[in-house]
Symmetry: C3
Subunit: 439 residues, 3 copies
Amino acid sequence: MTSHSTNMRIKLPTICIILEVILIILFGVFVRYDKETDSKKWHAHHDNNGSEIENDFYYRYPSFQDVHVMIFIGFGFLMTFLKRYGFGSVAFNFLIASFALQWATLMQGFFHGMGSDGKIHIGIESMINADFCTGAVLISFGGILGKTSPVQLLVMAVFEVTLFAINEYIILNIVEAKDAGGSMTIHTFGAYFGLVVSRILYRPHLEKSRHREGSVYHSDLFAMIGTIYLWMFWPSFNSAITAHGDSQHRTVMNTYYSLAACTLATFALSSLLSEEGKLDMVHIQNASLAGGVAVGTAGEMMLTPFGSMIVGSLAGIISTLGYKFLTPILDSKLKIQDTCGIHNLHGMPGILGAIVGAITASMATHDIYGDGMANVFPLVADGEVTASGQGVRQAIALGVALGFALIGGCIVGFIMKIPIFGTPPDTLCFEDQIYWEVP
Amino acid sequence: MTSHSTNMRIKLPTICIILEVILIILFGVFVRYDKETDSKKWHAHHDNNGSEIENDFYYRYPSFQDVHVMIFIGFGFLMTFLKRYGFGSVAFNFLIASFALQWATLMQGFFHGMGSDGKIHIGIESMINADFCTGAVLISFGGILGKTSPVQLLVMAVFEVTLFAINEYIILNIVEAKDAGGSMTIHTFGAYFGLVVSRILYRPHLEKSRHREGSVYHSDLFAMIGTIYLWMFWPSFNSAITAHGDSQHRTVMNTYYSLAACTLATFALSSLLSEEGKLDMVHIQNASLAGGVAVGTAGEMMLTPFGSMIVGSLAGIISTLGYKFLTPILDSKLKIQDTCGIHNLHGMPGILGAIVGAITASMATHDIYGDGMANVFPLVADGEVTASGQGVRQAIALGVALGFALIGGCIVGFIMKIPIFGTPPDTLCFEDQIYWEVP
Amino acid sequence: MTSHSTNMRIKLPTICIILEVILIILFGVFVRYDKETDSKKWHAHHDNNGSEIENDFYYRYPSFQDVHVMIFIGFGFLMTFLKRYGFGSVAFNFLIASFALQWATLMQGFFHGMGSDGKIHIGIESMINADFCTGAVLISFGGILGKTSPVQLLVMAVFEVTLFAINEYIILNIVEAKDAGGSMTIHTFGAYFGLVVSRILYRPHLEKSRHREGSVYHSDLFAMIGTIYLWMFWPSFNSAITAHGDSQHRTVMNTYYSLAACTLATFALSSLLSEEGKLDMVHIQNASLAGGVAVGTAGEMMLTPFGSMIVGSLAGIISTLGYKFLTPILDSKLKIQDTCGIHNLHGMPGILGAIVGAITASMATHDIYGDGMANVFPLVADGEVTASGQGVRQAIALGVALGFALIGGCIVGFIMKIPIFGTPPDTLCFEDQIYWEVP
């Protein structure tokens, strides 16, 4: 069958080479160093402004590296829980992330980073944004893990990155909502996009591979490496592109407490939902991270540690409940085969995060934010909108993200079904053997 | 038997939920952003003071993240060496650390961080301190690994964090000793506390589970992930809360050389102590870290790289000797079943670190420290005490830490024996099966 | 046979203790805190210069820690791919790196870090340089992995570090070439040194151990931890000791894009070179890193992201081709048994990096670099040499590195053959059992 022609010898090299050549050409034409990475511009600028430490590099590079670890180790190893898909999990994650971050540099640049000279100027902040966009693709990947060829994944990345950039542009620059940690732009978008793709790629005979859809003892420990790295560095994720100073600092703190509370909630629910009171590694590996997703929008706001802990606890509860009750329903009723449970880890907590963001925004007052209002809610500080107006914008942004995800995922899902991209047969899902020399 | 009722379905959710609700309420009442995380306060402050880079976030966040990795990956994976307790090691570590860092924020805040407004003001430094306190609990956990229920562990954390905060308050604020890297407050306290708890929980029939108390090939490699992360980031641990500038920088350097020397000493001893000259993974995984513990107090002082290397070598030697000769004696004679050998990794090296700190302090002169004396030994700089007076204070602090550990561990050990908290039977120690859905 | 006396009980402790004692004595005599780590000097200096944030610690410590992770986790775990040599890979890496960084502090200090007082003054930059030098030793280790005793490795480290320091001195201080990320000083030198050592230690009967020279499923996942960490933190490696400000920032960005492009090229070639189109983990684990090596010299220059991506793609292609075609030839024709394929990952990409550096240097103009020229090419900025003159110097530096590697490796290889240092028999290569208590 053409659609199951799993030999990648022509397809995969062809798509990789074509994409990289296109990337190189477009970078050559459009991409330039920005004023903090360009030797001439920085020194012209810097001589008037004092210390080298004011280069944005020193504000953001540690956060960037933490985000980078989340993208490559965090997502990569989180998905190694499958007993026979460890190579595919960590290495396809590596492949599509390496592509997506290059493509995202261009797409985000085209849609909202173009200078007056018609060039895209890049630096540490654009690198973080590229990694963020990549994160959305990897979330979607989690929904179809083990059921797609690497060529299909690259095709998905091409389109998803593009849609991500447009969606992000609308949310941040037109609706002017705030979403520093991406509850909407990254998590909600990435999750529902992936779920719709998974629906389009529905496999009625997936039971032929179900025996491979579980873990073994050590694969669960590899997955915990992913979990713990995501958990630890989520404060860096949410704060990586907020304003300098108190904003980065506060976002880190809110995320830290949200995640800690979420972990306790997850352990509580996981034990409670088991007849024998036994903990389930799937819950611990995933639901304990929902607290980071759920403060992705409000983390930079004056949410307070106390508020963060409430949000984190809620996120852990709904996420664990989702794994227990909703995932089986999605599968049996809605024909959504969500391998990693992205609906529970990114979907619902992303929506929760958007709602929390809207509520927190609508409660902003100058008495609480002081002169920092200009950093967190510039429209409110300028008097252009009221706090509740900002709250409404946040809610609209959620709608935009969901809309893009659902329609975009639908279109891209059908594109991915084109037989030429190859796809594993139902009998060989969740199996490294078809794409890898396995020892 | 009630005491062996290992079904956690009611107990674990109940304690998690009660603790988290209490935490949320107390945070709501007492915890506030400090002047570097609060939008209004920072901007009021900052407008008079220049650059955003002066926010303490930029001085300490990279160190914080390294400490965070040590707490969650370092401690978590170091304990995965057991062949059938990998889930419990990494995930109970995750659970109790997530609880302890929240509780520590409150306890440390109550005992020595309260503002004049009766509120606890938090920022990056309090987060580091909360992680440090958590470290002590995880050290104690190492002494009882595999022999306790997660409920017992949470109970231990509640009390140990509280005692830690009091002990720390006495040592730092009353005795006014220096202990930036916590040789006394974290390692000595955590280790002897855990050893006493282990004594109280002594199991005369533990031989029924001894066959599970070893490693398998890959579990030792997982444990090496923990070891190496602890080793690499220990310089960040010891320097995370020292004064800005030369103090952080010097502490990092002293710790770096101490650990390097310690590693050579550990390999030398491990080979020497084996009849066939074969290296023992237990030694490499643990004793090579003793050099970090042993410069926990003196690391910020003018110990010199040369001095650090001597201390590190000594620490590696006594720690390896401890694993070879002392651990069996503790077990057979003193009825202390120290699963991870915390006495060798944290106990003796912690005491060594306290002694080195006392000696180094007593040798401080203005000629060596210059104007930096005010950062390292403020009392000496102010003329309030002599250098040898500071040395005496350091020695007193060690006594305080040991006293708190021994008495506290005894009381808490008996509390943990209350049957309602559950505990695994002697036949099912070091076994994930009783608390986990194991694939 | 003496030469196969694998019992390390006397040899290993003896060499470790002798080396550490020598290190401690030499540190005591020669090594001092520099003006940023010394309490008195920093405070004398700082009071005239403003903020503590200007301490070099804050410019370089995050990069240092990333480099540190590459050295200990990256190299250590990359080599755990062997099914029965995981302990040796990660722990001998740990041992020789711990020694080498101490020894490098001295050797680099003697050859190019001596103050006017005859002392070596150390701080964060010397720590990074010590880790860099260690990296070269670990590269060479990769070429002889599984075929040497730990004593032989320490002997190699003693000499290789010394030669590294001399070679580095000649390249950076006499030839005055630029090589911030060490394409020449670290990768070319380390690789060809290791290859020559491997040639000298050629084992005609290695087929007796070939069945152990492969991986198992989970050992390949452990190796991917090493790969991904090296890949993620390579931007920090290349930028760790460049000038502050735009130079660090730009180097990070160039390396980031080079590596991303390299990964796509590696996947493309790996699939293309397999008859069934199946990907080979050896390629993914190694060749995808070649992009970091290949911008080790030019990364700090105005290479542009576009240029970096071309270089990275080329590096991925030649490296993968090397694994497929060259490694078997080296083995069968040149009698070089290169366990980890260091020729493909470090050798050829290192030479490529040197050439790219020479070309990029020769194209430098004041119009491109502006006042930043003084940081990147001080000789050109001063008018001492032309840009093409700088290019020639870069090319000469490559020759120096190759010369030192080939001659040095030859001499040191013969020293390592001295029977007293022990070496595993042909039947027990790639086997932990002979040096480790294996569970």
